[in-house]
């Protein structure tokens, strides 16, 4: 009933193509996050779903109904804007009631729904206050309340937390997640903050350059990024990328990193063997590297450049063979700038990528990312 189906949507502004042939299905009640850096097209796509910037090509359906060129108010949607866009000349009650009033709903119905929405956002005590007398965080609540009071099929959110300070953002993230889970509306949420995306979404659609790069659950996107861009965009610190040389030998295929040989996982042997003699990209997250204080046969030696004590972990910047990568260690692990450390690269944590397309290499029988 409230499934969103985006098929082949393209939108350009003059010569610039903001959204390129994008297709996506958001299931009913699903919380879908559109994640990407600025300029990737996520807001354009959201606005196309909203009807604020009509698609040039393609089709958008909501609940099975073709809405591609319908004006926003006929799409049965609701939206929270990045700058909140609450009406400065109306008090909180009138703001929340606005959409209902435009639909000429019955007065008692409006009253009830407004109060309900205000309670859900904990602003029931400010119904007669005016926006100019409210903090940014309170105004944001009003914007959300206004959106959910509509009880629409679909809720769209355009970076609603980006104008809040860090602490407030943390708080609101949890609150919003709880609230939206409770209401259960199909939600499309746009953000450039990958922490937000990871924490809130049922699924994340990572966008880059106007196209969707990967759509998957947060853990899938984190653990199995579909390409180097996603690996580098998600996670803090970003995934480390190294260039290695593939060598197919009698014992199997290995990848040479400088003077060290990395043995890929068994299921990757077949795929990697096709790259014999060619370079390949090796991706590994900082927290997946094993660190040792002394030499070991399967460990590679690296010089420690910087040690950043982050409290819950230490982040080391290490260099070896012309590469510089970040390694996360337990805070008690002894390391100092100028010293040495030995690293083990567990084969099941390594993500292999094509050096030219930067796409992730999967073993032939690994399940594909939904696209």
């Amino acid at each position: 009933m409230s499934e969103i189906r985006i098929e082949g949507v393209t939108k350009h502004f003059g010569d610039f193509v903001a959204v390129k042939d994008v297709s996506l299905v958001v299931a009913e009640h699903e919380f879908m996050v559109l994640l990407g850096p600025s300029g990737c097209g996520k807001t354009t796509l959201l606005r196309a779903i909203a009807g604020l910037g009509m698609a040039d090509e393609g089709r958008i359906s909501i609940g099975g109904r073709d809405v591609t060129y319908l004006p926003p108010r006929e799409r049965h949607i609701s939206m929270v804007f990045q700058s909140y866009a609450i009406f400065p000349h109306m008090n909180v009650f009138d703001n929340i009631a606005f959409g209902l009033r435009m639909r000429k709903e019955d007065k008692t119905e409006i009253e009830e729904r407004v109060r309900l929405a205000a309670e859900l956002l904990h602003i029931e005590g400010m119904l007669d206050r005016y926006p100019s007398k409210m903090s940014g965080g309170q105004r944001q609540r009003v914007a959300v309340a206004r959106a959910i009071a509509m009880q629409a099929q679909v809720l769209l959110m355009d970076e609603p937390l980006s104008n809040l300070d860090a602490l407030l953002r943390l708080e609101m993230r949890a609150e919003l997640k709880q609230l939206l889970a409770k209401i259960g509306t199909t939600t499309v949420y746009v953000t450039h903050d990958q922490v937000e995306a990871m924490s809130m979404g049922d699924r994340i659609a990572v966008m880059h350059g106007g196209t969707i790069q990967q759509v998957d659950s947060p853990t899938e996107v984190y653990d199995f990024p579909a390409n180097a861009f996603i690996g580098g965009f998600i996670g803090n610190p970003p995934m480390n990328f190294l260039m290695g040389q593939v060598r197919r030998g009698p014992g199997g295929t290995t990848v040479r990193l400088g003077e060290f040989d990395v043995a890929p996982a068994a299921e990757m042997q077949q795929v990697l063997s096709k790259y014999d003699g060619k370079p390949v990209v090796l991706g590994i997250r900082a927290e997946n590297l094993e660190t040792l204080n002394e030499q070991a046969p399967d460990a590679l030696m690296a010089d420690v450049l910087v040690v950043e004590p982050l409290g819950a972990q230490n982040l080391l910047t290490v260099a070896f063979g012309g590469h510089k990568i970040k390694v996360a260690t337990h805070p008690a692990f002894p390391a100092s700038a100028g010293g040495r450390v030995w690293l083990r690269l567990p084969s099941d944590s390594i993500r292999w990528m094509d050096p030219d397309t930067k796409q992730a290499l999967r073993p032939s029988d690994h399940r594909e990312a939904a696209r």
């Binding site: 098929e7 082949g8 009509m54 090509e57 393609g58 089709r59 809405v67 591609t68 060129y69």
Partner: protein, 287 residues
């Protein structure tokens, strides 16, 4: 192979496109009609002022101007009694007003934009209130005062009056010009070794100059156009508008129309020059 939308959607899209096109066409139409409405009288007065007095007296009037094209009427006007001196007086008064007004308003505008001091809001509100003051109620008593001070009917005294009239607007405009220049620039200059005054001179002034110049130009034109106070406060040393107003009853058509055209020309030129600053000036200068 692109995805096709439903037929209903195609219709909706076509309808929306049509409606948008109609709206745009309507906007263009209204804009053009209004523009013609504004430009037509100017065209007409130009056509009658830039022709010979004989052609001007002719009825019905030709609308196509410049047939015959002649500066005779203008020359007749300029040669008329009191016009050239009036012109000189107008320019002198306007220049004096420009200088004095800018000189007094600039520091006040700077103070308003950079400092928060007690009485700031009161000062600002009184500037706004005073801006709307009728020139009529100021001119009569000032005439009285000027007479008793012995400076009546003089160029400088009229310039003083005009300065008073234009001061509020100039303060507000210059204030908003300075407010638009980030204070961090002055701070940065001071960090790199300038005294506050040097910082102001080297960093703020160049950025503020265009805005201040626009405000000054506006002041000049306001003084140039001013009629009531000029008529009341000058007798022998009239400014151009005062001279024309006083002669209006007995004036011939040639005199009148050439005079009107002549007074109008600076306005048009002025607007063309400062059109970028229009919003800033009137928009921010209002409450």
């Amino acid at each position: 192979m692109s995805v096709r939308v439903s037929d209903e959607m195609e219709r909706v899209r076509a309808r929306a496109k049509r409606r948008l096109a109609i709206r745009r066409a309507l906007s263009y139409l209204v804009a053009i009609v209004l523009s013609l409405w504004i430009l037509l009288p100017i065209w007409l007065i130009a056509s009658t002022a830039l022709t010979t007095p004989e052609a001007m007296r002719h009825f019905p009037k030709g609308v196509l101007p410049f047939i015959p094209f002649s500066f005779d009427t203008m020359r007749f006007f300029l040669d008329s009694h009191g016009i050239l001196p009036g012109l000189v007086n107008s320019v002198v008064v306007a220049l004096m007003t420009l200088g004095l007004s800018t000189l007094i308003a600039a520091p006040a505008g700077y103070a308003l934009s950079r400092y928060s001091f007690r009485g700031r809001e009161t000062f600002r509100l009184s500037i706004l209130a005073v801006r709307a003051f009728p020139v009529v109620i100021l001119s009569i008593p000032l005439a009285f005062t000027f007479i008793s001070l012995g400076i009546f009917d003089s160029i400088p005294s009229l310039a003083l009056m005009h300065t008073a009239l234009t001061l509020p607007t100039t303060v507000l405009v210059i204030g908003s010009v300075f407010a638009g220049i980030p204070y961090e620039l002055e701070e940065a200059a001071q960090v790199f070794g300038c005294t506050p005054l040097q910082a102001f001179r080297t960093v703020v002034m160049p950025l503020a100059l265009p805005g201040i110049a626009a405000a000054g130009l506006f002041t000049f034109v306001m003084s140039w156009n001013e009629v009531f106070a000029a008529t009341v406060l000058t007798v022998k040393n009239r400014t151009l508008p005062a001279q024309v107003l006083v002669s209006l009853r007995e004036a011939s058509d040639a005199y009148k129309f050439a005079g009107g055209f002549f007074m109008l020309v600076p306005s048009v030129i002025f607007i063309v020059i400062i059109r970028k600053y229009l919003f800033n000036m009137w928009g921010q200068a209002s409450k």
